[in-house]
Symmetry: C2
Subunit: 183 residues, 2 copies
């Protein structure tokens, strides 16, 4: 049985989704000793406002590096949710921004939602760390990397002056997701 | 005939090779209207000091997203050159840091070299922009994206406070590569 796990971070361009993907991959590979592949494709399907990055995590070498059956999808905008939820697995995790994604895709998913952008803006203090809030939530929901590894990977990738801000964003996302899952 | 073009940026971790790859992909896709896929894999082969990122550019959808026959390889360190030059195409472009890569891999390549890190440090003024110097050189040598598109893509990705530094780095790399190719 394959232990391949596929994650997709989607939203709008400029939301830092590539960085979220890189941090997830580095948490898995550098700190958790797994193999990981992180990618973004740019083509006609990526035109318009929607944007995504993908991470594949496995205990074995990753032969086919494109996501084909997504285990966990983040959607920060309605457009991204509409565009990129087509290959989410049955019973896969669908993490949504509850303020911005109102229309759910058809299919049987485990939907978790909370106001991700709003949490970054009003609880953490900066909209720009919404990607790190979302990353914290994805770590909590998927369990595919440890919380400690992910936090280390975040801190290794962000400018030192913003360590506290990003740690706060990561933990806020992690905790909100745990609460939203229970609720 | 396929018009698929594969680039690999290699060196040491922390040299900004992922960012160089992202900028190359965005130059191709956002500004030149091509399709592009940018990726990094993390696994046992990436342990140790060597690090790489890859970009595939095509006029058509990119079915297989892993580099298999590299058209152009950047190597900023000897270790990266040793590790990642194995699937460089015959007559492919091999861009080297002439201070740091002394031993050439076996095979028939078009080798271009100049002191990339030293150019960043002493001519542009900051070692940290060595990735952008290298990117400028790769743009000049491959011609796979236009100079104008690449410059726009650089400026869209770097912090506004460092616009001038990065433009200078890009142009220095571009010009040094043109001169090194002739020389």
């Amino acid at each position: 049985m394959s232990n391949r796990y596929e994650l997709r971070f989607s939203g709008a361009g400029g939301q830092g989704l590539i960085l979220a993907g890189i941090i997830m991959a580095e948490a898995a590979a550098i700190y958790d000793g797994k193999q990981a592949l992180q990618s973004q494709s740019y083509g006609p399907e990526a035109r318009g406002g929607a944007s995504k990055s993908e991470v594949i995590i496995s205990d074995e070498p990753i032969d086919y590096p494109k996501a084909t059956a997504v285990d966990a999808l983040l959607a920060l905008t309605q457009e991204a949710c509409d565009k990129y939820s087509g290959d989410l697995k049955e019973n896969g995790i669908l993490l949504l921004d509850s303020d911005l994604v109102k229309k759910l895709p058809k299919g049987k998913y485990r939907v978790v939602k909370f106001p991700i952008i709003n949490t970054a803006k009003n609880e953490v203090g900066r909209t720009i760390v919404a990607n790190i809030v979302a990353l914290g939530a994805m770590v909590a929901l998927t369990g595919i990397v440890s919380k400690e590894s992910a936090e280390k990977a975040v801190l290794a990738r962000v400018p030192e002056a913003f360590t506290d801000l990003n740690r706060k964003a990561f933990l806020a996302g992690y905790e909100k997701a745990v609460a939203a899952k229970k609720g």
